[in-house]
């Protein structure tokens, strides 16, 4: 059934009693043409695009519940202000898809392009962002350096630390804000709605979405996977797509190879709801914090990853303290606001902090991992490109730079414009 203003009205008159579930709960079949492991945004978007390409029978296997991994834990910032040409091009394409996503899926993902300000507090960051602005200009992404006066007009509550400073560093803050970079196309979306929207659209095209089904092993014939072992029995298949985020290393181990990926905890938290005062996303690389205000009024707050690797699915308290300190440094008025919830996701960070959208050491197993702290924004473009990769066996131009072979060829794609970049 298609959702529309009319369907909403009809259901309202019936007292909202007979809405149908948005997707089926099918039985697991013994064989599929393609199996996607991981029911997060990337796995579900990939299944949707595979079904649109008419790629055969498709199942998505999820060990927990839909979107219960990083997709449901992320702070939902969507942007294209990266460093590498390859990343900017890819994310600019993804942003174009975000603008259409609610109508593509017939599901309101609440994409809200409210813009982002990157705060500049060191001269090194100014040089970095000027360089990035030049790269983005080549790819049609708007990214402009702005003055502290303009920032003050846009976000009056921000303490720029310039009051009483004779020159930077004297009288005001240790790192007063020198300026900013304005990225008007950036925004946020409703994270759960993205998983649900793709799930519903994929299900409508016949994809079997199987929850509570963990992949525990692979059966192989030489370099080919022939069947997948799961907690709900074994499934034979001719192609496998892996989109398991923080479990990339665990699944690679089951398949018998290693990846240049480490798993780190990344925390986020939300405050109690406040009246709207913050109309854009604010990102401050110098003190590792970013914040935006949700439609409910809560502040959604994130920082950098913890200082050590972990699979423990809980964040380090030290990070929470550091991030809140940075928040209050920017918004002293928030000093007495309460935090409501804190959680962590286990992110999969590649050696060079760029994603791995690639063939694997096995002939018929493909990888969409290494999305780290920034793969939510990439879901529309990632799902589309990964589906094509699985069908054709060849990466198209947009994702060729993200292949696993970049390490052996000595062409890693070091990306610094990420919350989890190396030093």
């Amino acid at each position: 059934m298609s959702y529309s203003a009319l369907s909403l009205l009809i259901h309202a008159f019936r007292g909202h009693r007979d809405w149908k579930p948005a997707w089926r709960e099918p039985e697991l079949k013994p064989a599929y043409d393609i199996v996607i492991i991981g029911g997060g945004g990337h796995g579900l978007a990939t299944a949707f695009h595979l079904a649109q390409l008419g790629a055969g029978t498709i199942a998505v296997l999820e060990k927990g519940w839909l979107g219960g991994g990083n997709t449901g834990r992320n702070t939902a910032v969507i942007r294209a202000n990266y460093l590498r040409e390859e990343s900017v091009r890819f994310h600019a394409h993804s942003m174009a898809l975000w603008n259409e996503l609610s109508s593509t899926l017939n599901f309101n993902v609440m994409f809200s392009p409210r813009g982002q300000i990157d705060l500049i507090r060191t001269w090194g960051k100014l040089r970095d962002l000027r360089r990035r602005a030049a790269i983005m200009e080549r790819h049609g992404v708007e990214y402009d350096l702005i003055s502290t006066r303009r920032i003050r007009e846009m976000v009056p509550d921000l303490d720029l630390g310039t009051e009483g400073a004779i020159e930077p560093g004297f009288g005001g803050k240790r790192l007063p804000v020198l300026g900013g970079a304005w990225h008007p196309g950036a925004g946020v979306a409703r994270h759960d709605a993205v998983a649900w929207g793709y799930a519903r659209a994929a299900d409508a095209l016949g994809v079997d979405i199987i929850q509570n089904c963990e992949v525990t092993g692979f059966r192989r014939d030489g370099q080919r996977v022939t069947a997948i072992e799961t907690t709900r029995g074994s499934i034979s298949t001719s192609k496998v797509g892996v989109a398991v985020a923080g479990h990339a290393g665990v699944v690679a181990e089951l398949a018998g190879f290693r990846l240049p990926v480490d798993t780190w905890p990344l925390v986020a938290f939300v405050s109690e709801p406040l009246k709207p005062f913050l109309h854009t996303c604010i990102n401050c690389p110098a003190t590792q914090i970013y914040v935006n205000q949700s439609d409910k009024g809560e502040l959604v707050i994130g920082g950098g990853p913890d200082r050590y690797r972990s699979h423990a699915q809980k964040g380090d308290w030290e990070t929470v303290e550091n991030v809140t300190r940075s928040l209050i440094d920017l918004f002293p008025r928030l000093g007495r606001v309460k935090l409501l919830r804190q959680w962590a996701g286990m992110i999969d960070v590649a050696y060079d902090t760029s994603p791995i959208l690639s063939r694997s050491p096995l002939d018929n197993l493909y990888l969409s991992v290494g999305w780290g702290s920034g793969g939510f924004k990439a879901i529309p473009a990632g799902g589309e490109a990964f589906a094509k990769l699985i069908v054709t066996g060849m990466p198209d131009e947009l994702i060729a730079p993200f292949g696993l072979d970049r390490f052996q060829r000595g062409r890693p794609l070091f990306e610094t414009a990420s919350a989890s970049a190396r030093g």
């Binding site: 290393g249 290693r258 798993t263 699979h311 390490f407």
Partner: protein, 84 residues
Amino acid sequence: MSTLIPCPHCGDRPVQEFRYGSEAPASRPQTDSSIDPAPLSSLLYDSVNPKGLASEWWQHTAGCRLWFAIQRDTATDLIAETSA
């Protein structure tokens, strides 16, 4: 994470004094003229990244600055053993 890490030189010290360095690779492949790039690239870039017992290098940065090996369970964040 445990709040104390036993530095092999200083004894139990708060975790904030330490820094994670990297995974400790099991062994280096032979680097002679017959070198095959695949295992070398794997040594440089790949991680075991286990959900369970991991071997890592840590440094006591805000203390004696010793680099030492640590055996740590990444699923529970408990430390099993440290050695110089």
